[in-house]
Point group: C2
Chain length 281, copies 2
């Protein structure tokens, strides 16, 4: 698990680093960023928040535009932003180069379908390899790890948080795809990566996971802009709300008036999410 440092730069009193490594999960190089707050000194082990990005993003989008560093520096949170898919020579992409499947659109699953099964193993990467890598190379306390994300990354955060509550102790999401089994983005991605058997999709659908008895470690925070162009067709937070109500899951769902699907929305509410996780980690 050798880590190559791409860059480090002081920011908000801490250190923002970008790192590369050869991933055993995906069989490709993978890049991610880590913000270490100023509390990362003298052997202190700090709580860590993993942020999963949305369609088309690399690690860089939230790293540059997320406005998470001031709050992380204040609260002593390590912030980690991985990529959204394997990349590189020999990694299959959508046949038409669409933005919502293939490169930049790994959907945080282990693909079973060809030609994706070899490299598209983002579920294992986020659930297993990345935490181990963080524990081995950074001053993080893996017993205090939270997860969040945006859109496709919100889907990833919810499904991972519901499946591994003992691993992800706090959970939130920005404008997540809450029920990929019921929306076009999800049909395309889960069909393409997992095949036509919809039973297999339920493990990668937050609403289905809750219906099937999975429970998060604690309360869940979801922010959603009401001017988000994907709200009605792709995101459908009301489905998550209904599933949580039926199952007794403590969901705080906030419909934010006037906000769209962009980093303008994410960066506005990022501090609230950092505080949400800090209180629980």
């Amino acid at each position: 698990m050798t880590l190559e440092t791409v860059s480090t730069s002081k920011a908000h009193g801490g250190t923002l680093g970008v790192y590369k490594h050869e991933s055993a999960s995906t069989g490709t190089g993978m890049t991610f960023s880590v913000f270490l707050p100023p509390q990362a000194v003298d052997g202190a082990k700090l709580p860590v928040l993993v942020y999963l990005s949305g369609l088309t993003c690399t690690h860089a989008n939230v790293t540059d535009k997320g406005e998470y560093r001031k709050a992380c520096a204040e609260l002593g949170i390590v912030f980690v932003a991985p990529d959204t898919s394997p990349r590189g020579e020999g990694v299959a992409d959508d046949a038409d180069g669409a933005y919502d499947f293939g490169l930049g659109a790994g959907f945080y699953v282990n693909a079973t379908q060809e030609p994706f099964a070899q490299h598209y193993r983002m579920w294992d990467y986020i659930a297993e390899e990345l935490p181990a890598l963080l524990g081995a190379n950074f001053p993080v306390d893996l017993d205090r790890m939270g997860i969040t994300g945006h859109s496709m990354g919100g889907h990833g955060a919810l499904t991972l948080g519901l499946t591994y509550p003992e691993k992800f102790k706090s959970l939130s999401a920005f404008a997540p795809i809450v029920a990929p089994g019921q929306v076009p983005w999800g049909h395309k991605a889960l069909g393409g990566y997992l095949g036509d058997d919809r039973a297999a999709w339920r493990s990668h659908d937050a609403v289905a996971l809750i219906e099937d008895g999975k429970r998060p470690a604690g309360a869940v925070l979801v922010d959603q802009g009401d001017a988000d162009g994907f709200l009605v067709e792709q995101l459908r937070p009301e489905l998550l709300d209904a599933a949580c109500k039926a199952a007794g899951v403590d969901l705080t769902l906030r419909l934010q008036p006037g906000y769209d699907h962009s980093y303008n929305f994410i960066s506005t509410f990022m501090e609230d999410h950092i505080r949400w996780h800090a209180e629980r980690l």
Copy 2:
């Protein structure tokens, strides 16, 4: 002065907009961003801070990465980020396509040398046309306008602030080029745009302007990272410090330990600069 709205998006309770217009100064289309804080309602006229970007940037870099919106929303400041040069068909570039001259490197001067004289008129654009455009189209109080910027944009902020103290009532800079007449970036840019007569350069050199009797409207704040790779050869804040001391200009020059020349540095100290301007506008 017709303005085309490229995009608007809610952010931090306000509105982030990107606009295009045909500039009379440059004879090209020009793009800029405006953040209107939530106080921009009911006919209120708000103080405005113009941020000039550095080499290679467009309006978008600081717009996305500057982390200015939360403080502007709190303090009721309109934040404006113009481009760094004219662009488009027929706009001359550096013959070798270098990053530090031509496109993305207008240096906030009115060029007198061919083939740049026709379009490279960023001095007039920032000093005259942009304020008029803002006054005509946005809820800004032009009697409460400040200016700041980074690197080449810090140079622009200092030279404009020193030349027009009645126009720019507050002044700060991040890692500015303080004496282009004494450093390689400046030699290339001022030589290329203004010609070999170094007397003409003095109007576009903050240190020379102070030596020649120009004074800012009030105190000046400059932040500079001490791990900035351009510090010793290109930026040389000690020259500004000496000129201000000799002239009795109230300069707060802060050498920030460990910070480099990137947006990680800018975004860390942006809030301080917003507060500096808000107190003076």
